[in-house]
């Protein structure tokens, strides 16, 4: 039964990618893609329900392993995938109307988008750490083509940096994966099960701690590059700002999670082999550095999409920091923050995308007065910014509070205070910029068309869900996050 859901998850977007290229379906590419991602979402939810009821699931001879951690990542990918595909329909139509894209680019875009979705959904469900690496590198190769879809100088520059830095960075993660395989081969033998996460976890305490320490450094720097952790983040603001906005929503909202997910899987093995402190100190260091480095770029930023991109660096840092502080509170905070960031940031990127299209600029100075000109976009930008700034009642308030209280109880008070100060600075600058954009004096002669149903639904759905899990989280949601936190903690 779970095999069906897993197959649907992967085959629906792949089939759509091919179908879209068939001549009769080219004009309906967006609709075909939307059907495919909806099937993926239904499959993801079915898998989630199964894991919730019966615990972790294995399938296909142990090649697939799904536990609560996988489920959280997977459902987010599928959900944001549906929103981004829905949002693409008006977005791409407008780009074609404005002459930024040709008519032939539409099927190409949707096919790439579907292959991108297919590569992402593999990451959280595959049990083999080597194949997981292959899937993550595949996400890079596919998503660079989406970043460069406009064929302009800046988008090519962004794509080139992303391709080169992403590939080199992730090559280091492969080196770390290889070392893990080396550490396991005396225990598990030299066949392909050597990189199966479940097998590795079973023998994790016997893995050579020296090798695992070295492996984790390479894995963290490698996948950390892909997750946008500073100082390896330099490609991220370029790629996320140059991509079409629905793609930015996916890159920032869920692709970063995939890379962080990989780090967390390795964290479990390293902690069991070499002790918790080693892996956690590294996570704290990179996390705090990412938050700190993002702040000055946030304050002086005037490009709205680059600002959101630097907030991704900041929030990935916060998640790494919370995971490093650890303990039940810290790990739960990390998972909650991850979910809240995905929902908030994808909605913000899509809302910002519509505004950028309407004003034909990304400069925030030139888009003042949004609240008056485009009430819906203004409201969603303000709500999103309030959520991202960690103000109550939104979930990021809870997760950031958890981060601080977790750091105090774990004896990392200084780190907690430093983190809090930096987070507050970033939040203040975000709110300042948002107020300027929303309530500043509008320039004469600007008008923003009323959003259609697709834009309305895709931008507001993540925010509505965020509000739901913030104010009155369903029991299933809290249980899933708790279980996921237990998995990262190493006892799940």
């Amino acid at each position: 039964m779970i095999e069906f859901a897993l197959a649907g998850l992967l085959i629906a977007p792949l089939a759509a990618a091919i179908l879209i290229q068939a001549r009769p379906l080219r004009d309906a590419a967006g609709a075909v893609a939307l059907v495919a991602v909806s099937i993926s979402l239904a499959s993801a939810l079915a898998i989630a329900a199964r894991v919730q009821d019966e615990g972790p699931q294995s399938a296909f001879d142990g090649w697939v392993y799904v536990d609560s951690l996988s489920v959280v990542i997977l459902v987010l990918i599928a959900l944001v995938g549906v929103c981004a595909t829905l949002n693409s329909i008006p977005y791409i139509r407008r780009d074609i109307a404005d002459g930024h894209l040709g008519a032939a680019d539409s099927p190409r875009y949707y096919s790439l988008l579907m292959v991108f979705m297919a590569t992402m959904v593999v990451v959280p469900v595959i049990n083999n750490l080597g194949v997981m690496w292959v899937a993550i590198e595949a996400t890079t190769v596919v998503s660079v083509l989406l970043v460069s879809i406009y064929r302009t100088g800046p988008s090519l520059e962004a794509a080139w940096k992303y391709l080169v830095l992403g590939s080199v960075g992730i090559a280091l993660a492969l080196f770390g994966t290889m070392m893990t395989y080396y550490a396991s081969s005396p225990l598990l033998g030299d066949d392909s099960s050597g990189l199966s996460w479940t097998d590795l976890r079973a023998v994790a305490s016997q893995l050579d701690p020296d090798v695992m320490r070295l492996a984790f450094v390479f894995v963290l720097v490698g996948y950390g590059t892909k997750a946008g952790l500073a100082p390896m983040h330099t490609w991220l603001p370029d790629a996320h700002s140059q991509a079409p906005s629905p793609v930015s929503a996916l890159l920032s909202g869920v692709l970063l999670n995939c890379a962080l997910y990989a780090v967390l899987r390795f964290r479990v093995l390293t902690a069991a082999s070499a002790g918790d402190a080693y892996a956690d100190d590294l996570l704290i260091a990179f996390g705090l550095f990412s938050v700190g480095l993002a702040v000055p770029f946030l304050v002086v930023q005037h490009d709205i999409k680059r600002m959101l991109a630097y907030h991704s660096v900041e929030h990935m840092g916060i998640i790494a920091l919370a995971a490093g502080i650890g303990g039940p509170v810290g790990l739960y905070a990390a998972m909650l923050h991850l979910v809240a960031h995905s929902l908030t940031k994808s909605s913000l990127f899509m809302a910002a995308g519509s505004v950028v299209q309407a004003f034909n600029t990304r400069s925030m100075h030139r888009m003042h007065g949004i609240a008056k000109l485009a009430p819906f976009h203004g409201a969603s930008l303000i709500l999103g910014a309030v959520a991202l700034a960690g103000l109550p009642p939104f979930a990021m308030f809870t997760s950031e509070y958890g981060l601080i209280s977790g750091s105090f109880s774990a004896g990392h008070a200084a780190i907690g205070v430093a983190g809090l100060l930096l987070i507050a600075l970033a939040a203040a600058s975000l709110l300042y910029h948002t107020v300027q954009v929303a309530y500043g004096q509008p320039r004469a002669g600007r008008s923003v068309p009323r959003p259609g149903a697709a834009a309305l639904l895709s931008i507001s759905l993540p925010l509505v869900l965020l509000l739901l899990v913030s104010v009155d989280p369903p029991n299933e949601f809290e249980a899933a996050l708790r279980d996921a936190a237990t998995v990262i903690g190493g006892s799940g």
């Binding site: 083999n128 194949v131 090519l156 391709l163 290889m178 395989y181 030299d190 050597g194 990189l195 090798v211």
Partner: protein, 219 residues
């Protein structure tokens, strides 16, 4: 083949790969750099064959064949095609002088080769010097990437890093599991293909393959 003989041969082939890497740092024309890279990949295939003969593990032969197809033929040929199609200079566009580059690479090779102990690693076959050699290859690859402005030369540097990694995997664990190795090579080929597409586009937009043109996005 006995383990000892295989170990000695692999050590020698690995040393040969480092010498070729220094050759790539030295070369001023992309054609030469690509050719040297082909030979370096060929030595990697040779090392894999030695490991295969010593252990009799059939998956090593499959991996070696795929490496031959992807790293000796497909990837360099794709990059060579860019040079053939575009009316662009074949200069590697190094940011540092020829002599400085080679001295830097040799010093790196000596320091890394001598100072890096095998650490916690004991290689499966008697090729004990290989891990330091593999790291040396990766560092020289990185050196090529950061000291060259030409887009294709940077890709050659990336491929050299990959070769170093493959060598490390080969000697530490007889390579990765076959399905992983196949996936890694497929990804590599796709990445080189995307680089192929981009370099053509770069030439159309900027009129050259100089990555110094890619400096407009800041802050």
């Amino acid at each position: 083949m006995s383990d000892d003989l295989a170990g000695t041969l692999i050590n020698d082939l690995a040393t040969g790969m480092v010498i070729l890497a220094i050759g790539i740092v030295w070369s001023r024309s992309l054609g030469w750099a690509l050719l040297l890279f082909c030979v370096q990949s060929l030595l990697l295939v040779g090392a894999a064959l030695c490991a295969g003969l010593a252990t009799g593990a059939s998956h090593i032969y499959v991996g070696a064949t795929l490496t031959l197809v992807v790293k000796v033929f497909a990837a360099p040929v794709l990059l060579w095609l860019v040079l053939l199609r575009l009316p662009t200079s074949h200069d590697v566009q190094a940011s540092i002088g020829q002599r400085t580059g080679v001295i830097l690479a040799v010093v790196l090779a000596l320091i890394l080769g001598q100072s890096l102990d095998t650490g916690p690693f004991r290689t499966a076959i008697g090729a004990d010097r290989v891990l330091p050699t593999a790291v040396t290859l990766m560092v020289i690859g990185l050196l090529v990437m950061v000291t060259h402005r030409q887009a294709l030369t940077q890709i050659v540097g990336f491929l050299m890093i990959e070769n170093g990694m493959a060598l490390a995997a080969l000697t530490a664990t007889y390579g990765m599991p076959l399905v992983v190795e196949m996936g890694v090579l497929l990804d590599l080929l796709l990445a080189v293909f995307v680089a192929f597409v981009y370099s053509t586009r770069m030439h159309t937009i900027f009129g050259s393959l100089d990555t110094d043109r890619l400096r407009t996005l800041k802050g």
